[in-house]
Symmetry: C2
Subunit: 338 residues, 2 copies
C-alpha cells in the first residue's frame, strides 16, 4: 500500500500532461466516448494509476448538467416503515452510479416543500416522494423541473408518476378476517383524522362491517397518531369507557405494538382473549410475541419499483408501474371468537 501524497488534487489536465496527450484524449478514455490508440491509452492509464487520479465529479456534473444523484423525501428517517422502503431504493440504485440524498419532511407539507426545493437546487436528477403531504398540484409543478415519483398518490404525467395501494381494500381484508373468525365488536385504532391513509382504512373497516350487517359503533373507534404510544393510550381509553370488544384493528403495526402492550399490562391475553391485527407488516412484526397478524404492504418493492420508475423517467423512457397488492398475513394474534 503506497501512501498518497498530500492534499494535491490531481486533475485530468495533470494526467494529460504526464501522459503527453491532450485532455480530450484522457476524457475519452475515461468515458469510452471514442476510440483511442493502444499506446496512448496505455500511457494514460498508467498515468492515472500512478497519480491516483479520480475525476472530479463536481466538474463532470456541472458540464453534463446532471448530478447522478436522486433525492428521497421521507417523513421520518428513523421509522421502520420508511427504512424498509429505503432498502428497496438502495437496491434499485445499486450499480447504477446514482447516489441518493435522503431528507425528511417530518409529516409537514411546508417543510416538505422546502426540502424538495433544496433537492432541486442541488440539481438532483429526480425525486422520490414517500408518503408526501404536498398537494398533487405542487408535486406536478415541481415535476416540471425534475421527474418525480411519489407513493401514496395517484399521478400520471410525462414527468411524474404516483401510485397508491388500495388502503380501503386492505382494511377490508383485515376486518373481514376478524369477522370470519366470529368477532362482532371490533375496535379500530385510527390515525390522525387528516391522514388520507387512515380515512381510507376507516372506510374499509366500515365497509366490512356493513357487508356483514354489523352495526357500526363510533364508540369503538379511537384516534391515534400512528405511533406505539397512541395504540396503548387508545386501548386504555376504550377500557376506561367500558367498551366491550373482542378484537382490535390497528391502523398500522406500530400502533398495534402499543395495543399489544396495553393488553399485556391489563393481563389480557392475545389472541386468547382479544384478537389483534395490524397493517404494514413491518419486519419487526415477525418477532412480536406472539407474531402479529397484519396486512402486508410491499414496502421494499415500493422502494424498488419507485426507483426503477424514476430511473426510467430520467432516461426519458415510458414506464408503467405494477405493484404487488396488499395481502392478509395471518400469524398468531388473531383467533376464533370464544
Amino acid at each position: 500500500m503506497e501512501d498518497d501524497k498530500r492534499n494535491t488534487p490531481v486533475t485530468l489536465l495533470d494526467v494529460a500532461r504526464e501522459a503527453g496527450v491532450s485532455p480530450s484524449t484522457v476524457s475519452r478514455i475515461l468515458n469510452g466516448t471514442a476510440k483511442v490508440s493502444a499506446d496512448k491509452r496505455k500511457a494514460v492509464e498508467t498515468a492515472i494509476a500512478e497519480m491516483h487520479f479520480e475525476p472530479n465529479q463536481l466538474a463532470q456534473n456541472l458540464k453534463k448538467g446532471c448530478s447522478m444523484t436522486i433525492g428521497i423525501v421521507v417523513q421520518d428517517i428513523a421509522s421502520p416503515f420508511f427504512a424498509e422502503t429505503l432498502r428497496g431504493v438502495d437496491d434499485g440504485l445499486k450499480a447504477t452510479g446514482y447516489a441518493s440524498v435522503i431528507v425528511s419532511g417530518h409529516w409537514n407539507a411546508q417543510e416538505e416543500s422546502e426540502r424538495v426545493k433544496l433537492l432541486l437546487a442541488r440539481k438532483v436528477d429526480g425525486i422520490i416522494l414517500l408518503s408526501g403531504r404536498l398537494e398533487d398540484d405542487a408535486v406536478l409543478n415541481f415535476a416540471r423541473q425534475r421527474p418525480i415519483v411519489a407513493t401514496g398518490r395517484a399521478l400520471q404525467s410525462d414527468t411524474a408518476i404516483g401510485f397508491k395501494l388500495d388502503n380501503e381494500y386492505g382494511a377490508l381484508l383485515a376486518v373481514r378476517h376478524l369477522i370470519e373468525l366470529g368477532h362482532r365488536r371490533i375496535a379500530f385504532v385510527a390515525g390522525p383524522a387528516d391522514n388520507a391513509d387512515s380515512c381510507e382504512r376507516f372506510a374499509g373497516y366500515q365497509r366490512a362491517l356493513a357487508e356483514a350487517n354489523l352495526e357500526f359503533d363510533p364508540a369503538l373507534v379511537v384516534e391515534g397518531d400512528l405511533h406505539e404510544a397512541s395504540g396503548l393510550l387508545a386501548i386504555n381509553r376504550l377500557f376506561e369507557t367500558q367498551q366491550q370488544f373482542s378484537a382490535v384493528f390497528a391502523i398500522n403495526d406500530q400502533t398495534a405494538y402499543g395495543v399489544r402492550l396495553s393488553l399485556y399490562r391489563k393481563g389480557i391475553r392475545v389472541p386468547d382473549d382479544i384478537s389483534l391485527i395490524g397493517f404494514d407488516d413491518l419486519p419487526g412484526s415477525l418477532y412480536t410475541t406472539p407474531p402479529l397478524t397484519t396486512i402486508r404492504q410491499p414496502l421494499y418493492d415500493m422502494g424498488l419499483v419507485a426507483t426503477t420508475a424514476l430511473l426510467g423517467l430520467i432516461g426519458g423512457k415510458k414506464v408503467d408501474v405494477t405493484m404487488p397488492s396488499l395481502e392478509l398475513i395471518v400469524r398468531e394474534t388473531t383467533r376464533r371468537f370464544r
Copy 2:
C-alpha cells in the same frame, strides 16, 4: 401561485442582464460578499424574485471546491440501530446547509471501502463512518482527503476522530444485574466471532462471572449474527443440548427479540421462568411484551455528536467529543431467580 415557465433554467447571468448589473454584483448580493448600493440591490432582488432564480449549486460547488454534502456510511440502511443514529445526524445537520448522502457498506470491508471512495469522488466535505469494518489505517488514509469521524473505534488525528463506547463495561453491567438477581447459569447469545463489539461484550460477560466467582461454562454461549432469527435459533440450540439456565444475555436487542420469541414458543414465561437482557435499547424495546431490560447505547446522541464533530473538523476547529456512557435500563424482562 404563478406557474413557472418551461424548462428554462435561469442563470445568474440572466438575472444580471435583467437587472442591468454585472454578474459579480448579483453574486455579491447572493453571498453578502461585499456592499452593494441600495438601488442595484433592489433591482437585482426583484429580478431574482420575478425570474424565480435559484443559483445552481453544482456551479457554486465546483467554484468553491466544496459540496456542502457529507457522506454517511452505515452497514444496513434498514436497521433500527442505524436509523436511530441517522436521526441524530439529521438533527445535527439541521439548518447548516449541509445535506447527507447515505450509503451502506453491508458489514463488508471491501464494499465499505468502495463506498468511501465513491463519496470521496463526489467530493463530500466529510464522512461519518458508523460501525465500519475498515482497518484503522485505511480510515486514516482516507481521512487525508476529507475529514472523517467514526464510531466504534478509537482514533484521533487532525482529520479523523473516532470514539467508541465501552462494550465490556456495558456487558458487565448487564450480567452483574442478572447475578444480583440471583441468577447463576446465564446464557450468552453472542455475535459473529470476528465482531469486535461481540468479543468485548463477551469479555464483559466473563468478567462479571469471574467477579462473582461463577464458573464460566462455554456450553452456555452460542454464536448468532446479531439478527432476530439467530436469537431464536440460539435458544433452540440450547434446549436441544439440554442446557440449564435461568437467564440470557443477548448481544443486542434484535437478538433478544428472537430469544423472546423462542421462549414464547416453548411456553416459557419471561421473566417468570427466564430473565432476558439485551443491549442497545432500540426504540422498539419499549414495546416488546414485556418491555425489554437492556443496556442503553446513546444511539441518537452518537449521531448528533458525530455530526457536530465532523462539522468542527470541516471548519478546521479543534473538537473533542464527549459521549454519554452506557447505562442499564431495567424494564420487565428480568426478575429475581426463583
